[in-house]
Symmetry: C2
Subunit: 235 residues, 2 copies
C-alpha cells in the first residue's frame, strides 16, 4: 500500500506494509523502490508499556552532560512540531542487522512484541525484559512512536499507517519507507500513483484516511498545517 | 570506491565517498545500488571537540530514567564490541531531510563542519554553536564516530573509510553505505568486485587498507576477530 500525506504537509508518498507481514522481499522492495529510511511504527500503548523513548526526548534530557544536544534542538521542522523518531533496534539473532533478512527478522519479531504489549496482561517489567532478550539498541531499524490518539493528535505517515493497520484488525504496527524520485526530490505524487497501478498496490491519500478514520472512531482528525516559520519546539 | 572489510568480520562491501564530494547523485547511487544505511563518519578529533556522543553511550547514561535501555544493551554484537552509531542529523535548511538533495546538503555541509573542527582554533563552545546553527537532531543522516587511533583501535568500515580520506589529504570524513544482495544477504564479494569493474570504481579490501595504513603511519592495525560467543559490552 502507498500513502501520500498531503499537499499541505511533507508532500511525500510512503510504501507501507503491516509489520507482521514484513519479509526480506518486502525490505528489498522498500530499499530499491522506496529509497528512504525503513522505519517501524509503535502504537502509543506499546511504547508506553515498553518504555520506548522518543529520540528527541533522550537528546533533550542529556543536554546537561552533552551540551551539543542543546544546540541541535529541532525547533524548526518545516511541517511539524516533533519528529516520531524513537530508538533504533536489531534483533539479537541478526548478524550485521542491515541485510534484508536481518531487517525482516527485526521487524516481524518486533510486531510480535507489539502484540504482546497491547494484548497481554504482563506487567511492564516482564515486557521490558522480553524486549531486551530479543533486541539490542542501537540497531538498523528505526522505531517511530505514534502519537497517542493517532490522527486526532498528528497526521504524519506514522499515525496514518498505524491507524490503517489498527482499523484493519492487524497488529497495530506498520513498516514504512519514503519513496524518492530520480530528480533529487521526493517521488512525485503522479509517479507514485503510477507505481501503485503498475505493481497492483493501493494508493491512498491522507484526506481519505482521515475521513475513514473519523467515520470509524467518531473523532476529529488533526488538520495539516504547514508551518510558516520557525516556532518553539512542540514538546 | 568500494571497501570490503574482511572474511573474518562483517564480510560486507560498502560504497564509500569522501563526504566533501557528496552530491544528490551520490546519495541516489548509494540508496539504489547500496541499499543499506547512508552514514557519515566523524574523525575522533571532530567528535571530541564538537561533543558528538555515541548513541550507545547516550542509551547507557539514560538507563535509570528509561529502564528499557538497560535491557537493550548491545553486549552480543557478533563481530565487534561496540557500534559506531552516533547522532542522526539534518541540515536546518532541509525540508523532510530524506530526499537525495536534502541528505547531500546535510552531508556536504557536515564535511565543512568537520574541516572547521579539525583545522580551526575556535573553542569548543563556538564550534558547538556553529554546529547547532546549521543542524538539528534527530535527523535522516546517521553519524558514525570513528575510533581514536583509527585502524590501531578498530577495523570497521567507519575507520577504514576515514583512514583512506585522511591519508588522501581530504577532509577526514567519508560517507558510506552497505551493499545488499538480492538474496536477502550482503552483496557477495565477487558481485561487489564486478560492480566496481562495470562502474569504473576501485574495489579495495580491508587487508590492503591496513597494510597501506601501517606503512604510512608506522602503527600496527587491529586484527579482525570474529567473536566466538557473547561477551561483555566493550564500552
Amino acid at each position: 500500500m502507498l500513502i501520500y500525506d498531503s499537499d499541505k504537509r511533507e508532500r511525500e508518498t510512503d510504501l507501507v506494509i503491516p509489520s507482521q507481514f514484513v519479509t526480506p522481499a518486502a525490505i528489498r522492495r522498500m530499499r530499491k523502490d522506496g529509497g528512504g529510511l525503513i522505519c517501524t511504527t509503535v502504537p502509543a500503548r506499546a511504547w508506553k508499556l515498553l518504555g520506548i523513548p522518543y529520540l528527541s526526548d533522550l537528546f533533550h534530557e542529556a543536554r546537561d552532560s552533552h551540551p551539543l544536544l542543546a544546540e541541535l534542538i529541532p525547533n524548526d521542522i518545516p511541517y511539524d512540531t516533533k519528529s516520531a523518531f524513537a530508538l533504533t533496534i536489531n534483533h539479537r539473532k541478526t548478524f550485521t542487522g542491515v541485510t534484508d533478512r536481518d531487517r525482516a527478522l527485526t521487524v516481524s519479531s518486533f510486531a510480535g512484541m507489539v502484540r504482546e504489549a497491547v494484548e497481554s496482561e504482563s506487567g511492564e517489567e516482564i515486557l521490558r525484559q522480553t524486549f531486551g532478550q530479543l533486541f539490542r539498541a542501537p540497531g538498523h531499524v528505526t522505531l517511530l512512536n505514534a502519537s497517542e490518539g493517532l490522527l486526532s493528535k498528528r497526521s504524519g505517515h506514522t499515525e496514518m499507517a498505524t491507524a490503517l493497520v489498527t482499523l484493519a484488525g492487524l497488529i497495530p504496527s506498520a513498516t514504512i519507507c519514503e519513496m524518492m524520485g530520480d530528480d533529487g526530490k521526493a517521488l512525485r505524487k503522479s509517479d507514485a500513483a503510477e507505481y501503485a497501478r503498475t505493481n497492483g498496490l493501493v494508493f491512498i491519500e491522507g484526506a481519505a484516511i482521515k475521513s475513514y478514520w473519523e467515520t470509524r472512531t467518531g473523532e476529529k482528525a488533526m488538520p495539516d498545517v504547514r508551518r510558516a516559520g520557525v516556532c518553539a519546539n512542540g514538546r
